[in-house]
């Protein structure tokens, strides 16, 4: 049976240096294990989340989609011998 194995894009919260900044910004990182080149971070202003809590899920969904796209491009370039 052929086909490419499913690549799992994971997300994790990134903590900032100060508690003040962590109260102000929510930072998420989308990544694929073993492929740091396709990692991307999204920063969300907490004040906006208070008004629009739905922003969090939409942001995470887009982050996962972006990283998945980057990974697909990465694999394509790798198969062409460009990396």
């Amino acid at each position: 049976m052929g086909g490419r194995p499913m690549i799992e894009v994971k997300t994790r919260r990134v903590m900032l240096e100060t508690e003040h900044d962590n109260q102000k910004w929510l930072v998420f990182e989308g990544y694929v294990d073993g492929v740091p080149a396709v990692t991307k971070r999204t920063t969300i202003a907490v004040t906006a989340l208070v008004q629009r809590p739905e922003l969090l899920e939409s942001a995470k969904t887009k982050l996962v989609a972006d990283v998945a796209e980057y990974h697909a491009n990465y694999l394509l370039l790798q198969s062409m011998g460009n990396i």
Partner: protein
């Protein structure tokens, strides 16, 4: 001769006795042997520091005070100046783009590369959400080790924040786009120019650009999907420079959405020059 390693300690003597000449002789012989043993390392280091001290007139302890334990400069006064208009680094592209929806603005940072005097540092793309429309932001990231990659991009409206951390990379400035709001159309004139009436106060300004959609009849056929600069008549009326005298009378329906254009600001750079805005 046996190899000498480790710290040279003063000879042990009872507190009531003084060191003899022989003790001093032995101590200095150990010190000399230690330097010989480590000749290819420490003598080179001492020599280099002596050379710098002789050349600059700065003593060795002052030179060492300019370095952190991991060999990095304590602050930018220890850095060389790149002779390019006093700019310490340049981006290969301006990575900033902004857009807005009805409530919030988003700044997108494209993947880009910084050219320094020592080489390049590549940064991954990123996004900052939940910002205010129509606002000047300074975008930055902290990267004290020049590592690049996926950094956390932040935005501030306070300029001094850009230099509040020695490891801070100033990405650039950008004015976020105006909010994109949609108004329902409840009337339109078959005239030149066409005057539209909105169901609620649109809050727009003359020269804003709006995209028409869902308009009926001739209005829809000719205008739907197109964007036009508007002239505001009052809070619920605006016109577009289109001749609608041949259009059949307006019936019902339609939407007008103010276009929220992305605006890219001046580039920043690792050395950081803050554009005057």
């Amino acid at each position: 001769m046996a190899e000498m390693q480790g710290i040279i300690r003063p000879p042990r003597v009872p507190s009531a006795e003084l060191l003899t000449d022989r003790d001093y002789e032995r101590l200095f012989r150990q010190l000399n042997e230690q330097f010989k043993y480590d000749a290819d390392q420490r003598r080179v280091i001492v020599s280099a520091l002596m050379t710098v001290a002789d050349r600059t007139g700065t003593d060795i302890s002052s030179i060492l005070a300019m370095l952190t334990d991991d060999g990095r400069a304590v602050d930018q006064r220890f850095l060389p100046q790149v002779s390019a208009g006093n700019v310490l680094s340049l981006q290969n592209v301006n990575p900033l783009v902004a857009s807005s929806d009805a409530t919030n603005a988003t700044i997108s940072i494209a993947a880009h590369t910084l050219q320094y005097g020592f080489g390049t540092v590549a940064y991954s793309s990123g996004t900052i959400l939940g910002l205010l429309p129509s606002t000047d932001y300074y975008v930055y990231a902290d990267d004290p080790n020049y590592a690049g990659g996926a950094v956390t991009y932040l935005a501030t409206t306070v300029r001094p924040t850009l230099t509040a951390n020695n490891g801070r990379y100033f990405v650039g400035t950008i004015l976020t786009a105006i909010s994109a709001n949609t108004a329902a159309i409840i009337g339109a004139t078959s005239a030149n120019p066409i005057v539209f009436q909105t169901g609620t106060s649109h809050g727009w300004t003359t020269s804003d650009s709006v995209t028409m959609s869902a308009l009926p009849g001739d209005f829809g056929t000719n205008l739907n999907g197109n964007s036009y600069p508007i002239t505001v008549t009052d809070a619920t009326h605006f016109s577009i420079a289109v001749n609608g005298t041949a259009y059949a009378a307006y019936t019902t329906g339609g939407l007008a959405t103010r276009v929220s254009t992305a605006t890219a600001g001046p580039a920043g750079g690792g050395g950081g020059w803050v554009d005057d805005r």
